[in-house]
Amino acid sequence: MNKLVSSFTAAPLPQGAVARVSLAAPVARLVLRARGDLAALNAALGVTLPSVVGHRAGAGEIEVLCLGPDEWMLHLPPGQVGAVSASCAALMGSHPHSLVDVSGREVTLEIDGPRAAELLTLGCARDVEAIPVGQGRRTAFDNVTVILWRDGPAAFRLDVWNSFAPHVAGLLETGCRELAAEAA
């Protein structure tokens, strides 16, 4: 398993009254690519893979987001990676697929507060408010590919690649200051 390495140090992240940004605890991340009948993989993972792009599923501590017609992002506790990888690897002969550990690739920024959705419009051209609560999307934030999870009406998670995280965090900080200045 890759180490949970991050070049991104969470220097002062903005903590405005109307929108806050914080660094989420490290989590193991797996990218799954598979086609055809997914029943065997569902059984191995212990979760039913959603088939609609943007939909999420969860079971226990595993969280799955459908990124594309044959692509899923899995978040799970680091301790479970070995077991999940092994049970999927056992299917490789009968059901070819790709399961890649990308834990060390990205960090998650948690964004919440009453104007969190508005803060995200700073870099996100897509209509953030239109993403239903409990779903997620891969999208672009100021031209950086990010995965946006919507956990509540005003609670988001943003998965950003390590090397882009300082840029994205800096932009969010500017946005938080602007929103704070408006509120003052």
């Binding site: 792009v53 990124l67 594309g68 017609p69 897509r126 891969r138 672009a140 590919t145």
Partner: protein, 100 residues
């Protein structure tokens, strides 16, 4: 900004999530060895440059990552339709029907 409908995500999304990927329906010969130099040149380099509806490929790069096909009017930049890769080329008359 253009708004493009992704046939895989079934959402209409801003252009910045997409990249252009050239003319659509350019098919590689089933038997490459049988191709003459002129036919290879035609396959590799020669592209149409229409003024009007153009069949072209796009990729939902910052999204589902899929390539798909679109018909875009090169004068107005209006997308007449988008459809999944591998789907048959839609007839132009059916796309323009409501506009003539």
């Amino acid at each position: 900004m253009l708004l493009i409908h992704c046939p895989y995500c079934d959402e209409t999304l801003p252009e910045v999530e997409f990249t252009y990927a050239g003319q659509a329906h350019v098919v590689r010969a089933a038997d490459p060895a049988s191709q003459s130099d002129e036919e290879w040149e035609n396959f590799l380099y020669i592209r149409s440059n229409p003024k009007g509806p153009h069949y072209e490929r796009w990729r939902h790069l910052h999204g589902c990552g899929r390539f798909f096909n679109a018909v875009r009017d090169t004068i107005s930049d209006r997308f007449l339709t988008t459809y999944k890769a591998g789907a048959p080329r839609p007839e132009l008359s059916s796309l323009l029907g409501d506009r003539t």
